[in-house]
């Protein structure tokens, strides 16, 4: 025991290697290994008669990705992800600003918990509760009918609302942290130099907090791309990347599903690399 400890004392690099070996080895093996098998499967095919996966190289699946249906679904999903991300950023800003720069420390603590609780409350139940809200005889119509109005019901518009609701806290928290980090002296300097509220916001606050917004957007964007449960429950019948992939997973055509899954994977990798450039990873 002492001898091993002495070896560690003399060689800090040995300590480092031993610390990293297990976590990085395990994660790289399981996660990168899985992504590797996903990639390989995309080049295989399914025998239409036996239903088994044929382990021979083919580009068949990628030809199917060029179909108008798949392109439409991809664009629809991307559009939804972009709309949700933008909505979250706009809605998150005022509350994040209030939490970070106006509220007293006591209130700040309360507000952080008030934002965190809905974030961690069961995902499925949040979607489910929106089904109750948006239903024909549901809460929203009950409140709106005296005004002669009607809620969006189940469909794309309702789904946009639900996604924005689900991922909003992921946007509020990084923006809050980003705003909190801005030194007050910068805002005072801007005011001293004659920058009024909007100008200071536009030219000082916004550039400083932008990486934090991008950090939040990683989640709003990625979670929208990867979800198939909310579309199924809130916009039944409408196709998104998630449902399409799920429908092909397992029995119907695993290799095709694998090829389809490479699309959101590629989109997210590009998104992450851009986000890293912008400095979003320091704001995570």
């Amino acid at each position: 025991m002492r001898r091993i400890a002495a070896a560690f004392d003399r060689h800090p690099r040995l300590r480092l290697v031993l610390l990293l070996a297990l976590p990085i080895g395990a994660l790289a093996l399981v996660y990168f290994g899985s992504l590797f098998f996903l990639f390989i499967n995309a080049f295989w095919s399914r025998d239409p008669f036996t239903g088994l996966v044929v382990r021979e190289f083919t580009l068949e699946n990628f030809q199917k990705l060029a179909s108008p249906l798949f392109i439409t679904v991809t664009l629809r999903t991307l559009g939804m992800a972009a709309a949700v991300t933008l909505t979250c950023a706009i809605v998150a800003f005022p509350i994040a600003y209030y939490m970070a720069r106006v509220a007293s420390p006591r209130w700040r603590g309360i507000l952080v918990v008030a934002v965190l609780t809905p974030l961690w409350a069961s995902y499925l139940i949040k979607v489910y509760s929106w089904r109750l809200v948006l239903a024909e005889g549901g809460v929203l119509n009950w409140f709106l009918s005296p005004l002669g109005l009607k809620g969006p019901g189940y469909g794309d518009l309702g789904l946009w609302l639900v996604f924005s609701y689900l991922w909003l806290p992921y946007m509020i928290l990084p923006i809050f942290a980003g705003l909190e980090r801005i030194p007050s002296s910068l805002l005072e300097a801007s005011a001293d130099l004659g920058g009024r509220g909007w100008r200071t916001f536009r030219h000082v606050v916004l550039p400083l907090v932008f990486p934090a917004v991008v950090a939040g957007s990683i989640f709003t964007f990625s979670l929208t791309l990867g979800d198939y449960i909310s579309p199924g429950l809130i916009a039944p019948g409408q196709q998104f990347l998630g449902n399409l992939i799920l429908a092909n997973n397992g029995k119907p055509d695993l290799p095709l599903a694998a090829a389809q899954a490479l699309v959101p994977l590629a989109i997210m990798i590009i998104y992450l690399l851009v986000a890293r450039r912008v400095g979003a990873f320091e704001s995570l």
């Binding site: 400890a5 560690f8 004392d9 300590r15 480092l16 610390l19 990293l20 976590p23 990085i24 395990a26 994660l27 996660y31 990168f32 290994g33 899985s34 098998f37 996903l38 509350i95 209030y98 106006v102 507000l111 952080v112 918990v113 008030a114 934002v115 965190l116 609780t117 809905p118 961690w120 069961s122 499925l124 139940i125 949040k126 489910y128 509760s129 929106w130 109750l132 809200v133 549901g138 809460v139 009950w142 609701y165 806290p169 990084p174 942290a177 509220g197 990625s222 791309l225 990867g226 449960i229 990347l241 998630g242 992939i245 997973n249 695993l254 899954a261 959101p264 994977l265 997210m268 890293r276």
Partner: protein, 265 residues
Amino acid sequence: MPGRLGRLALVVATGAVLLFMWLPISLVVAYAFNASGTQSWPPSGFTLQWLIDGLQNPGLRDAFMTSVGAALAATSVAMVLGSLAALAIARYSFFGRESITFLLILPIALPGVVTGMALSTTYATIDFGLGFWAIVIGHATFCVVLVYNNVVARMRRVSGSLEEASADLGAHSFQTFRYVTFPQMRTAILAGALLAFALSFDEVIVTNFVAGGVKTLPLWILTSFRLANQVALVNVAGMIAILLSVIPVYIAVRLTSDTGAVGRI
């Protein structure tokens, strides 16, 4: 600092957003005690019947136990891997450090359907059976980062000079870890573990791909959506699910008030 009018606008906006975030969740809790057991609004009366039914429903109970088991197993793995990685990142600078952070974030930053498909194709290719352990492995990959983030935030806050002092006073590596480093990490590891538990307990997108026939609580809820006679039980299960994610997170927040590392990642 905004003017009086700006302040008022911010207060109103904050209140509106909080209302928007809280109303739908409160609704499920309200329905869990709704006498008619249906989803019509407004609720018709108060009852504890569904809560009692829910606690006695064998399918719901099994799903609950499966979820607790899987979450505990995934959390244990995440605690070990996350703490080790955090120690390395916080206390050493080396080539490739940035890439390691990237690798740790990847499982939680990539879309759930991608992780689900990746695991599902892998299990199919290497002939690993779907089910409990397939779920645990999947959950562990994205739970690691939660422990890692909490511990790394703590280690950056507490100075490394205490460890150097310990070494100067003649303690060897293990003693320094046992008596100096670990006591400083302890609550951060626990906080990360609580978050990991809550995330695993709630996860359904990836789980659905790897569960085989095994039912976790979220999967039980998902299948019960389609069964009209279980609507009332879904509300009860929902309430349990909310409590079991929110309580650990609340404790985690209290444990890490120094670092503020409380987000989902």
